[in-house]
């Protein structure tokens, strides 16, 4: 059995008297190396607290969190030796050159001095700061600082890299470069990535799994990779007329469906059902089809649904907590 990258069991975290995480449980990255996990949620959902708990900054009031099979609180030093962390805010030593800064971070992670120096140069070229590596980090632009933060997170070759809003403040080209680097980290170097971002498109582009937090609870968890590789057909159907019996009709043909709003349906067709069946179904129910299109839930829709900004749809097999449909 593969050890999950992150295993959380009934985790409660209190900051002062406020309970921020209210008993969350999940297993993430259970399918092997080189997985990217997206962590989403509205402001105040507990994303940062979860990341900080994984980093050992907060002590769980009950429950446990494990990274790569090691307890984040009790085996904090061993966990930290295996992870890299890119914080959201500016974090650096401003009067150090990028090379010296990275070398320091590498050595604190346990690398021998010579290896840390060599890797500092290597990783700075990798993130595109090769020409600026002898400049002090304090003189860098916002985009360069983001890259320097990424560089310090991966200099020691961690098994899990925790990225908190890595594309914040980046222009489109730099954002794309950052996403390519993140994808390379997991695909070419076998690192696992926990990506916390408000930009759902970033998560959708890079991640294999996604977890949505709201008010300290997990409200949605999806395996995006499995969804992408499935051959189910997602259809959006809009009809005019009384569609109150349509849900039963969909069930009768083995399709799963959810109503988004009156007359608007999201349908998942089994492989053996042809699209024409939907036309016949609508005709049988005396409904006029105004729109029929193949489409999947975008992550944004899923996010809004999970946090309650879209009308709640009946729970279908796809949208149950573990395998939501995208």
């Amino acid at each position: 059995m593969v050890t999950p990258v992150i295993a959380i069991d009934n985790l409660h975290v209190k900051l002062g008297r406020r309970e921020i995480l209210k008993g969350i449980s999940c297993r993430l990255g259970a399918s092997g190396e080189g997985k990217a996990i997206g962590l989403l949620g509205p402001n105040g959902a507990g994303k940062s607290t979860l990341i900080q708990t994984l980093l050992g900054f907060h002590k769980p009031s009950s429950g446990s969190a494990q990274i790569l099979g090691l307890d984040c609180h009790k085996q904090s030093a061993q966990v930290k030796a295996r992870i890299g962390y890119m914080p959201e805010n500016d974090s650096f030593i401003s009067d150090m050159t990028a090379v010296a800064f990275l070398r320091l971070m590498g050595e604190i992670s346990g690398m021998p001095p010579a290896a840390a120096l060599e890797k500092a140069h290597e990783v700075l070229f990798h993130v595109g700061l090769g020409e600026a590596r002898y400049r002090t980090v304090g003189t860098y632009s916002l985009g360069m600082k983001q890259m320097a933060k990424l560089a310090q997170a991966i200099i020691h070759g961690p098994q899990l890299v925790i990225l908190d809003e890595p594309t914040n403040g980046l222009d489109p080209a730099a954002r794309q470069r950052m996403l390519i680097l993140i994808r390379e980290m997991k695909e070419q170097h076998g690192m696992n990535v926990l990506l916390c971002s408000h930009l759902l498109r970033d998560v959708e582009e890079v991640c294999d799994e996604v977890v949505i937090l709201k008010d300290g609870l997990i409200v949605h968890q999806s395996d995006l990779e499995a969804e992408r590789s499935s051959d189910r057909r997602f259809v959006q159907l809009e009809v005019a007329g009384d569609d109150s019996k349509l849900a039963e009709a969909f069930q009768s043909i083995g399709a799963e469906a959810a109503s988004e709003s009156p007359g608007v349906w999201r349908v998942v067709l089994p492989r053996e059902i042809e699209i024409g069946v939907l036309w016949r179904l609508a005709a049988r129910e005396n409904l006029r089809v105004t729109k029929l299109a193949y489409r999947r839930d975008t992550l944004e829709e899923l996010f809004l649904k999970a946090v309650g900004h879209l009308r709640a749809t009946p729970v279908t097999k796809q949208e149950a907590p573990v395998h939501g449909g995208i």
């Binding site: 900051l15 002062g16 008297r17 406020r18 900080q52 980093l55 050992g56 900054f57 907060h58 904090s76 030093a77 061993q78 930290k80 030796a81 992870i83 890299g84 962390y85 914080p87 805010n89 500016d90 974090s91 650096f92 030593i93 401003s94 009067d95 010296a100 320091l104 971070m105 590498g106 050595e107 604190i108 992670s109 346990g110 690398m111 021998p112 290896a115 060599e118 890797k119 140069h121 290597e122 990783v123 070229f125 990798h126 090769g130 310090q152 991966i154 200099i155 020691h156 070759g157 170097h189 076998g190 690192m191």
Partner: protein, 289 residues
């Protein structure tokens, strides 16, 4: 192959021991400290007194030189004893305090200003280890003006006076080492705490000096107003001089008051309080309750 050609590869080599990691921060900070002109000037100036004491020790062990040159009466006052080392330690500890006030404020404040603590603490480095590493930076610098010259002067005297003198007075050596170590730990903690709470270097440096003088003044006020003597326990200078007096077998200039054991206890309380205050400030993330 050149690094810019071969691309990034994950590091999979050996890791160093936690003890070697402890010295990483000092290795990076010492060169930066010693590149500050004022620190270097202070270091040089603070070595004049040990040099003078070394000359004193030399003549004390070569009285014939003084007598041959008509300085016979001077020879009578040249005695190397506990009082001599006590005076030596008083002077050097003052330099150590000034050096800590100059070098200390730049140790932690920049990490707090640049929000660098999450980067340190997301690595296998605890808050305690971070404080220890920063303290080693200061202990190393302060040793140059306290421990090393002190043991050098003691060693010089022991080598010139011979084995019998050493056997009779080895406690001076341990007294110098232990006394200076306690002082260095105290001033280092004061300097680091000041650095953690005040981001302006000059103000933080002034606060280090003020800490010692103000507490001494407060102790005196307590003694006068309440007509007691335990108020002296608030004075780091009093604590240290009393402890040094016991270590070197020298009478303290004041009569009555808390003894060396009480002073040692008070010093440990002071160190504990400073550590607690420092640990409270050094958190990877601010928690608003």
């Amino acid at each position: 192959m050149a690094v810019f050609r071969r691309g990034y590869q994950r590091y999979t080599g050996p890791l160093v021991s936690p003890w070697q990691r402890l010295l990483v921060i000092p290795r990076f900070v010492w060169p930066r400290l010693l590149s500050q002109r004022f620190v270097v000037v202070l270091l040089v100036v603070s070595l004049f007194w040990p040099l003078a004491c070394s000359v004193f020790v030399y003549f004390a062990n070569h009285l014939e030189l003084l007598q041959n040159n008509g300085a016979g009466p001077l020879a009578k006052v040249l005695a190397i004893n506990g009082a001599f080392f006590s005076v030596f330690m008083n002077v050097q500890s003052t330099f150590a305090m000034i050096l800590a006030a100059v070098a200390g404020p730049g140790l932690i404040a920049p990490d707090l200003a640049n929000n660098a603590l999450p980067l340190y603490f997301a690595r296998p480095l605890s808050r305690g280890t971070y404080i220890l590493a920063r303290m080693i930076v200061l202990l190393g610098i302060l040793s140059l003006v306290t421990l090393i010259p002190g043991l050098f002067v003691f060693g010089m005297q022991a080598s010139m006076a011979g084995w019998d003198w050493f056997v009779a007075h080895w406690t001076y050596g341990t007294g110098i080492a232990l006394g200076f170590l306690l002082w260095m730990i105290t001033v280092s903690l004061v300097a680091m705490t000041s650095s953690a709470y005040v981001k302006w270097r000059v103000v933080a440096g002034a606060l280090v000096m003020a800490f010692f003088f103000v507490l001494t003044g407060v102790g005196q006020i307590v003694n006068q107003v309440l007509r007691v003597q335990w108020g002296s326990l608030l004075s780091p200078g009093y604590l240290m001089l009393t402890i040094w007096g016991r270590l070197l077998g020298v009478e303290t200039p004041w009569e009555g008051g808390p003894d060396a054991t009480e002073c040692m206890l008070a010093l440990f309380v002071l160190i504990g309080v400073l550590l607690g205050v420092l640990l409270r400030k050094l958190r990877p993330v601010e928690v608003v309750s």
